[in-house]
Amino acid sequence: MTAYRLASSGLVDRSAPLDFRFDNRNLTGFSGDTLASALLANDQLLVGRSFKYHRPRGIVTAGPSEPNALVTVGKGADSDPNTKATVAELYSGLDARSQNRFPSLKYDIGAVNGLLSPFLGAGFYYKTFMWPAAFWEKIYEPIIRKAAGLGRAVLERDPQAYEKCWAHCDLLVVGSGPTGLMAALAAGRAGLRVILADEDFRLGGSLLGETARIGDASAQDFAERVLAELRSLPNVTMMPRTTVFGWYDDNVFGAVERVQKHVALPQAKLPVERLWRIIAKRALLATGAEERPLVFGGNDKPGVMMAGAMRTYANRFGVAAGKSVAIFTNGSAGYRTAADLTAHGVDIAAIIDSRADGSDRAPDGVRVIRSASVIDTKGRQRVAGVVVERSGFEQTIACDAIGMSGGWNPIIHLACQRGAKAVWSEDLKTFLAPDVGNGLVVAGAAAGRYTLAGCLKDGADKAAVLAADLGFSAVSHTAPAVEGEIDPSFTALWYSPGAKAKAFVDFQNDVHVRDIGLALREGFGHVEHAKRYTTNGMATDQGKLSGINATGLLAAMQGISPADVGTTTFRPFYTPVAFGALAGTSRDEHAAPVRKSPLHGWAQRNGAVFVDSGLWFRPAYFSRGGEKTWRESTDREVLTIRENVGLCDVSTLGKIEIFGPDAAEFLNRLYCNPFLKLPVGKARYGLMLREDGMVYDDGTTSRLSHEHFVMTTTTALAGGVMSHMEYCAQVHWPDLKVRFCSSTDQWAQMAIAGPKARLVLQTLVEDDISDAAFPFLAAGTVTLRGGLKARLFRISFSGELAYELAVPAGLGEAVADAIMEEGRAHGICAYGLEALNVLRIEKGHVTHAEFDGRVTPDDAGFGRMVSAQKQDFIGKRLSTRYGLTAADRMQMVGLKPVETDQHIRAGAHLLREGAKPSTLNDQGYVSSACFSPTLGHDIALAFLKSGRERYGERVVVWDKLAGAETVAEICNPVFVDPGNTKLNS
């Protein structure tokens, strides 16, 4: 046995034992434990295998910088790979498994990589696996992929829920240790809206493991008192279990709260994790400092741990990391751990101090070896001894754990996320946060003030300044006295010389000192190059432990200052964040809101099969009894409209009401065709271009009164056209007197099309809608029987006699039902998008399949519509560019297969007969194709080079993707009723 639970002490609740499992073993811990402290209490030293060499590894830290103790928690879809045991709150039933090992943690075949390590140094991938060339993908890469990676993602649907939330505050305090608590208290008392966030499940930070006394209380009691006062302040919000992971522009902070990660059975009404976007007027970073590991031979053996972590485990969790502990230190902190462990009855085998002149007092009877270095460790899967070298003499000291303390690094991650670089302090031998203005202020140990008294004061003082800055007056406050603390100074030691075994810098990624040296030798000495070449700092801990030592080593090896080496870039996330938390509720069917037409229910009752169309759901077709495929339904619908009449929901088209004395002028500039003289009571098809001369959108616009128009847009671009119009009205022509708003949602709009459309409609409309009274392109307000006012437009997409009727949305279903009822005698049917598409292809009408953003009006056959008279309209000038008017542009044509039983598919390309397929020979492509039930064969719209000159020619419709080639005749794109007799009937 090495590690064990102390008989007393700590903040765990010994009256609340918790059962949990690790690698299928049943173990027990206490409420208040982390998984790591509970594993240690059960003497589970070996917890994982490293990334490359699969070396046995143990717990190193007591916090989020842990490189080794990564486990998978949970089972199946409910499993979390790569969970850090050091931050995982223990709960009853927690089930954890070790990772990156086969067949077991103890006997891992992958460890053979360690034997090959001379071949697997930094950058080895790049120099090898090239011979023979074919072997890389078939042999080498799969092996590398399998060996790499840590936990296993099951990629099953996550049964848990997540959500997002916004929060606002005057001051965000990150970290609830001595600095954060005092800052929150000072700001809270001054009346600021304060949020105090801490990643730990228990607030108090380092105070929870502190043995010094504050005022008249223990550090823990002091923390409890402050927390009690903070809880009593309505303007202070406490957020435990909340990691602030990112600092973004305008002092927006991203944080993730683990709402139910620590419970065995999450409540359904709560998320397991919640993303917070905290908008903070000011923020204070009280994130403390990280203890620096020492780089010495054999420093990765289970049992080697940060000295501070040992202290935390003993003081906070009541767990001793070993029975006989050696401490390797370059400063006072190692002595502090020795003292605390001694107080708990743990034997200190020796303190190995790299300094010659340390003045720290060791506990009574403890042996101190000065000017010494550790060169190796003994033991296989756990430490059995430490090999110390001093003045050329080696000695082995038996021990079962080694605490290492290499100094301190302020945790400044967040402050460096927005581009400012960390600043080297020659005094403190570490990097400090840059000055980033008063939006984010760093205090306490995070600012390099390591004493407890200093932290308490710094937190309170800086919060008071920020409060004053925001116009609050701070309540005066005297910092409490601290008794029994030490100043943890140190002398930097980047490398303990004389290593007889690999001395690791990055534990998880297996980067050791020689790798850094190799990188430097090969020209990868820039800190970013070294990182990328060796993978130092690229593991799940993102170099929290290894980064500073890599910088120090690169500096030392080149004989320059760490200031000249610098750090790699700090980027979000401070600690890894689950996809789920960042996605919140926006997933699956809720990934985007659903828009429903006012006729949705009507369509449903009529057997619609829906298809999504942007955010909308629209009927694709209406299945009737006996119809087995969409084609059967569609063909029936098409023929019904061509012969009788049909009703189609077109409510989703954008509708914009346009008012004002300059409304006509505005439209005239917006469309490429003229609108100034559109008479009241008339509709006109309009074509809108982008400024580069390509078609943007099309639709009809009707003049309802002299100063009132209503425009329709396509469904897809309803929002885009609205924004475009607002841009034109506000940015280009604010002098025009025009106002407009969307009325898309106000109206249920239905197309009634077919030779019998008038017959059916007249039964409901009180006004005269005969061809004479209401001819093609008439538009106006009519009254339906029963007195309902409606808008009626005589426009047609199908080429049939057709109307669009608009009624207030709430009445849409009732009116549609009435039309269906009246139409039954005339054989009316409901029709969907599929039939609509066939009808319009037959008529040669275009949609966004044709207007794909690369097409000019002339390409699509609208050249004559473009006004030559108008002095200006959007897109006029660039329409005349050479390439947009060139004779060999692709123009829209119709295609019909020469053999009428052959098929044409949209997306096929076009070749001259006999031409070899090549990009150079490519003549164009099919934009839309369908089976025409009216004609009895396939038809298509296509864009073909100089197409309009080529009617009657044949082309090969080349669909290699389907393995099909069809010879087709080029024709006019209007397949049905080219004389518009039906339209005007």
Binding site: F579, R690, L920
Partner: protein, 416 residues
């Protein structure tokens, strides 16, 4: 030193202390026949091909930071040639072929992994557009396959087939598409160029372009004036700033694109997959991290960092495409500054100044283009004529009316 099985074993047995620097650290000479501005993937590849394919001798690459410090080291490592328009597809296929021979050519393992790229489609319109694209690829001799939903379900069972807001109907597959180790591409070209005598000069920022009678004579740099016979700009991300030194008017905006990597995981996703109902794309690196990204943040930016709103949007798309990602933790995000052109396609071109050549506008697509970009730019500089596969990528195509607009979005860069 050539990398071979022999050199690996020999060095391993001698403690790996005899490896030589991958490249020299030369002092700049007073004059070079050709100077390339930008020591990223494209600049380094250009220098390499100038030396190797076009026989030029006196070449320098000037890099303001360290080699590969720009977008070649901050992308999502995707390699593909699945374009639709004739201005693009032959160029990217030329690039693909160069990728396929790169490792042997450079004697450097860039870990090209042709695991296949699948573009998902979610509606009929997208399907038709992919059929058009797939056939355009075949026209250029590039194999493509259209997968239906059943085939996808078998291949990628973890996709959201049951609860998707935008149902997955199928996908377009290019089997030869895949990934490569991004840094290694820069290092491989750098090392190979250096071996051919190219001077790679780091920490050398160009601060001015000197012209005499309308001809470039050299560049002012943070390390002094350096003369040159020809100047090639390959500084994507900073094109406008460098171009301004020569009074070039450019159709370029700089935008920030974020990318992400998860914690290392055992192999789970074996293709490159792109989402059709958004911009999300994902693959898994050989180290196990899932590498992914989506759209640009949308505003002009030279900051190599993005904002949270985009991060959330990317994750929403990811979880919607692959529900099982929900529990996977994202480790790190980073950002590159993209040269966004007005049509979403790149520029390899002459400029109004005779001996000044321009390589820019790579939008999202710079990494996969690295070898062809280098080759075609070298061709242009060495021969003063465009390479056939890059002949549409001209700077003056906008005023002439020949945009290469794959998305049909028009001259608004943040829509491409």
């Amino acid at each position: 030193m050539r990398y071979s099985a022999f050199s690996i074993v020999k060095n391993a047995l001698t403690g790996n202390v005899n490896w030589k620097p991958a490249w020299r650290q030369p002092e700049p000479k007073p004059y070079y026949d050709v100077i390339i501005v930008g020591g990223g993937g494209h600049g380094l590849a250009t220098a390499y091909y100038l030396a190797k394919e076009f026989g030029l001798k006196n070449i320098a690459v000037l890099e303001k930071g360290y080699l590969g410090s720009g977008n070649v080291g901050r992308n999502t490592t995707i390699v593909r040639s699945n374009y639709m328009l004739p201005g693009n597809e032959p160029f990217y296929e030329f690039s693909m072929k160069l990728w396929e021979g790169m490792e042997q050519d450079l004697n450097y393992n860039a870990m090209l992994s042709q695991r296949g790229i699948i573009n998902l489609y979610h509606n009929d319109g997208q399907r038709d557009a992919y059929i058009r694209r797939g056939n355009a690829m075949w026209m250029e001799g590039v194999p493509a396959e259209l997968l239906d939903r059943a085939a996808l379900k078998k291949m990628l069972p973890f996709l959201n087939f049951d609860h998707a807001r935008f149902p997955i109907m199928g996908g377009l597959l290019q089997k030869r598409g895949g990934t490569a180790r991004h840094d290694a591409v820069a290092w491989g070209y750098a090392r190979a160029a250096d071996r051919l005598g190219v001077d790679l000069i780091q920490n050398c920022e160009v601060t001015g372009i000197r012209r005499d009678n309308g001809v470039v004579t050299g560049v002012e740099t943070s390390r002094g004036f350096i003369g040159c016979g020809k100047l090639g700009l390959a500084a994507a991300g900073n094109t406008s700033r460098v171009g301004e030194m020569a009074d070039l008017k450019l159709p370029i905006e700089s935008h920030v694109l974020q990318a992400f990597v998860t914690e290392g995981l055992k192999p789970a996703i074996n293709h490159v997959i792109t989402y059709g109902a958004g911009h999300f794309y994902i693959s898994q690196s050989d180290k196990g991290g899932l590498v992914f990204g989506a759209e640009i943040d949308g505003y002009n930016s030279y900051a190599q960092r993005g904002n949270l709103a985009t991060v959330e949007h990317v994750m929403e798309e990811g979880v919607t495409m692959i529900p099982g990602l929900s529990r996977v933790r994202v480790l790190r995000s980073w950002s590159g500054v993209m040269d966004m052109s007005m049509d979403g396609s790149p520029i390899i071109s002459h400029t109004p100044i005779d001996n000044l050549y321009l390589n820019c506008g790579w939008c999202y697509g710079g990494f996969k283009a690295t070898p062809a970009s280098g080759w075609c730019f070298a061709h242009l500089i060495a021969k003063n004529e465009t390479h056939p596969v890059a002949r549409f990528l001209r700077l003056d195509r906008f005023e002439r009316g020949y945009p290469i607009d794959e998305h049909g979005a028009g001259p608004q860069p943040n829509l491409h």
